[in-house]
Structure formats: C-alpha cells, structure tokens
Amino acid sequence: MGNLARYIITRVLLTIPMVFILLSTVFVVLRIMPGDPVGTMLGGHAPESVIEKKKEELGLNRPIPIQYLDYLWQVCRLDLGNSMVFKQRVTKAIAEKLPATIELTTFAMIITILFGVFMGAYAADKRRSLQDNIIRLYGIVIFCIPVYWLGLMFQLIFGIWLDILPIAGRTGPRVFASTFEKTGFYVLDTILIGDFSALRDVLIHLILPSFTLGMVLSGIFVRLTRANMLDVLKADYILAAEARGLEHRKIVYKHALKNAFIPVLTMFGLQFALLMAGAVLTESTFSWPGMGRLLLERIYLRDYPTIQGVIIMFALIVAMVSLIVDIIYAVVDPRIRY
C-alpha cells in the first residue's frame, strides 16, 4: 500500500505541470497569436481611441509577461473574469452549462461501453466468423463517420421521417425551467422532485444525442476490447475454466471480459479527449445547451474572456479525468507495477 500511496502522490504532482502547460498553451493561442480581438469585437470601423480604451479596461495593453502572470493568478483563484458581451461572470456561465455537457457525455459513455465492449467481446469469441468480420467492419466504418453527420442523419430518420424522437434541446416545451433548479442535471432533478413525466421527457431528449456520440466512439472500444479479449482468451486460466466445465458464455463474458476490460479502461483516459470534442459537435447539431454550444456562441460573438474560460475548463476537466483514470487503474489492478 505504501507503493500505491507514493504512486498516487507522484501522479497528482505530475498533473500540476500538465495543467500549467495547458494553461500556457491557451494563453499563447488566445493572447499572443496574431489577431486583434478587441478590434474585431468592436467592429472594423471603431475609432482607435475607443479600441485603446477597451484594451485598457481589459488589461490587454500591458506587457505580455505581466498579462501572463495576471492570467495565471486569475485561474488560481478560479476567477475567469467577466463576459465582454453580457453582464455575467464567466464562471457562472460555465456553471450553468456544465451539467448539460456532463449529462450528455455520461449517457454517451454508457452507450459506447455497452456497444463497444460487448460487440468487441462477442467478435473475439466468434473470431474469424462472419459476425466477427461484420463487427470489425463496423469498428472501422463508424469511426470514419463524422459525429455531426451521424447526428443529422439520425435527426432526419428518427425526428423527421419516423417522427418518433425530438431533435433539439434538453426538454420539450411543456416542462418548466423551475423543475431543474436543484442540480442542473435534468435526469437527477426530475428524480429528486419525483416528476416522472418530466423525467420521461428528459430521457427522450437524451436518446438521439447520446446515441450519436456514443456510437461514434464505440468503434475504438470494439477494436480495443476485441484485441484484448483475443489475448485473454488464450490464457491458461480460461482453458482451466473450460476444463472445469464452466458454461462457455460465463467464461467469456464474466471471467475473460473482466480481465480484458482493465486495459480498455486505461484507454478511456485518452478517449476522453475525443468524447469532449465529440460533445462540442453533438451539442451544436442537437442545440444542446452545454459547454460546446457556449463556446461556439461566444466565438460568434467574439466574447474572448468566455472563450478563454471555456477552453481552460476543458483543459482542467481533461487533466482531472486522466488523473482519476490512472489512479483507478492502479487501485483496480494489483498486478500493475509503479
């Protein structure tokens, strides 16, 4: 256990430079790169004096190193400044939108794992059969389908032609906003107040976006699980289980899958970045009021403090998730050496 504790501490400490570098990258991209945010924000014909005044207000006319230190200090205090367009704190805008993104990505993840892991395990069990080849083909093809296009096609098929599922938003028009004041996670909120017709409405709105995002990512999980399962199924303990006369299905989906799942879990850390990127596109397609939509809306409005805040938030989330995944991995698998 001493080793494990040491590993966790080292891993936590390693997160600090990573976050620092990500924050610096964001700063370089948004502040040092060519482009005049204030000029574009005020429109092409704003007089020089007005631009200068706005720059002074935002602290953009100070030397770059000072701006950089100030920026880091701001982030340390978890203060992301004020929106340039609305009278609103950036942290508040993010806090409002974050639950929507987390809800979408959580459900998408469940679908990815259900689809990906079970299809991968099934393909490995039936390797070199027709089913195996079909699933492998699915794994390659689904990954090449842009998530936004899959979303549009789902909207067309299930929303327009069959007309059975809603294609935009988190709720229908008949659910009141006051239903969702507790946490911002609509599924949780409706359960907490016991409004099950609202819960049904929320879940129906979740189906298309989460399937879209979940299916696109499932391709990678199919391939990973299949490759790991092929290795595990060759192991001696599987042969031993067969010899003891255990049911074949139990061996594959219980014993083997459990062991094959651990390496898949580590890959989750890396796939998480894809999940976030996919969420931005899915939110845009389904008018899902989350972080991605916030980012895009504010890009069109040239609201730089908010853009910066959202990107910092994404960086922090990614760093946290990779930290958590690594720690879980170390705890779950006692065979791992640190």
Partner: protein
C-alpha cells in the same frame, strides 16, 4: 526484354494483385479498396471542371430545392445551385487542407521528435511534457480556438488543423529515435567519427520515416473530419469557397422540412473520403508493420 501484349500485362498485374491478396489476406484488399476510394476522389478534385455539369456557384442551375433525379444527380439547393457540382468542386478544398495540414504537422513533428529524442536532457524533457499535454487536450477544441483567432481563410484553417497533429508525430518519432540511437550501427557510426547531424540524418532518420507513412495516412483521414467539422461549425473558411462541411451546415437548415439530399451527400462524401484514407492506412500498417497498431 520481349514485348508483352496489354492483355498479358494485365493478366500478370492481376495475378500479382491476387498473389498479394493470398500473401497478406484481408488487409491487402482493405488497402486496395482504400487506395481506390482515394484515387477516385483525387481524380474528382483534379478534373472537377470536366466532371461537374454546372458551375458550383451558378445560382441558376435549376429549380430551387429540386430533389435528386433528372438533370440534377443530387438535386439542387436553396440557392438553385447543383449539389453534385458542389460535391465535385468541394473535394478540392478538403483534400488540399487535409493533405497540406498533415504535411506541415508531420514535418514539424518529425524534426522536433528527432532532435528531442537524439539530444535528450532537459530540452527533451520539457518538450516532451509540452507535447504530451497538448496531445491529451481535445484536438478539435484546440483547432476551434486557433481557427477562431486566425479568422477565415484556406491557409488559416490549414494551420489550425496542422497544429493539433504535431504531438502525434513527435511522440512516435521521439520514442523510435530513443531506441534506434542505442543500436549497434549507430554506435559504430559514432566510433568512426560521424558527427551528430550526420548520424541523425543518415542513420536514424531513414529508419524512422517508414513508420510515419502509416501515421500520415491515418492523420489525413482524421484531418479530413476535423476540417469538415470546423467548416460545419462556421469557422475557418470564407463563404465563397465550395466546401463539404459548409454545405452540410447549410443543408442542416433545411432538414426540418425534409430536404434530405442537402445533408446526405456532403456528409457521405466526408465519411467515404475519411474511410478511404483510414483503410489505406490500416492496410499499409498491417503489411508494413503488423505490430504497429496493436496496443
């Protein structure tokens, strides 16, 4: 060498193809199918003027929002433009951006990876940490930030796409350089007095470059989807350029009214092109180095 008739040459080529198929199995056919897709779309881009029946900007090509059929293979859009002609011309934009972006990021990534892996020390550590951090960040979101800062333009979107793949090449080349520089023949070169740059360029580089070919192909596939994603979101390109992603975004407005052809065709083309490069890359990987893509 005696002259062969075209039929004989073709028979020989065919038997060679099937022979390769026997030797490498499914992967060979995946490679061929991928190459075929890429070649067809490449031909579409090169000869778009001859293939497209209408000018892609022609706002008088036919009736408004006509469904596919008759004079318009893929229908017309809300501005009376021919969708098929826009698909043909749009292939130029996406191919140019994706291929060029992958060239830029591979050049930078390979050079930095070689130097970093070879020189080691504090420079290597800091650069690796930077590259790893950027690698862990969602590429699309980074590209969105870049594209938003740089403003619309073909060069700008190429740079925005290119920047997110530099760490991919860097990590691959660096790790290979680290292991190759310990090889005996590098040791031997050093013993006979070869300078650092000579060893790097003549002994290490040729051994590293082979693996980057596969990564390059897969990288183009990904860059295609990122380019289309950026333009779909309305970032990256001025409106007068014909582009699949932008056509998809425009078609989205007509989805609720059931005009399916405006989104189906541009999206399918993006998928097919990405699939072509992916299949090419997977096939190459399997044939050149069967262990590369296994984790």
């Amino acid at each position: 060498m005696r002259l062969t008739t075209p039929a004989e040459a073709m028979a020989r080529a065919l038997s060679r193809f099937t022979g390769m198929g026997r030797r490498y199995g499914v992967e060979w056919w995946i490679l061929l199918a991928g190459a075929l897709i890429v070649l067809v779309i490449l031909a579409m881009a090169v000869f778009s003027g001859a293939i497209a029946p209408f000018n892609p900007h022609n706002q008088d090509a036919g009736p408004q929002l006509a469904p596919p059929g008759g004079k318009h293979l893929m229908g017309t859009d809300n501005l009376q433009r021919d969708v098929w002609s826009r698909i043909v011309h749009g292939s130029q934009t996406i191919l140019r951006v994706a291929v060029l972006a992958a060239i830029i990021s591979s050049l930078l990534g390979i050079i930095l990876g070689l130097i970093s892996g070879f020189s080691g020390g504090i420079f290597d550590r800091v650069l690796s940490l930077i590259m790893d951090s950027v690698y862990s960040f969602p590429g699309l979101i980074l590209a969105i930030a870049f594209a938003a800062m740089l403003g619309p333009g073909v060069i700008n979107i190429t740079l925005a796409v290119a920047v997110i793949y530099i760490p991919t090449y860097f990590r691959l080349v660096r790790s290979q350089t680290l292991s190759i520089k310990e090889e005996l023949y590098v040791e031997a070169a050093r013993a006979i007095g070869a300078s650092g740059p000579t060893i790097l360029w003549q002994y290490i580089f040729p051994n590293v470059i082979a693996t980057t070919v596969v990564v390059y192909t897969l990288n183009v596939a990904d860059a295609i989807m990122i380019e289309a994603a950026l333009t779909y979101l309305g970032l990256g390109l001025p409106p007068d350029i014909v582009d699949w992603g932008m056509d998809l975004a425009m078609g989205k407005k007509f989805l609720p009214s059931g005009h399916w052809w405006l989104i189906t065709f541009p999206g399918a083309m993006i998928s097919i092109l990405a699939l072509g490069f992916t299949m090419l890359g997977e096939g190459l990987a399997e044939i050149l180095n069967p262990r590369l893509l296994e984790r």
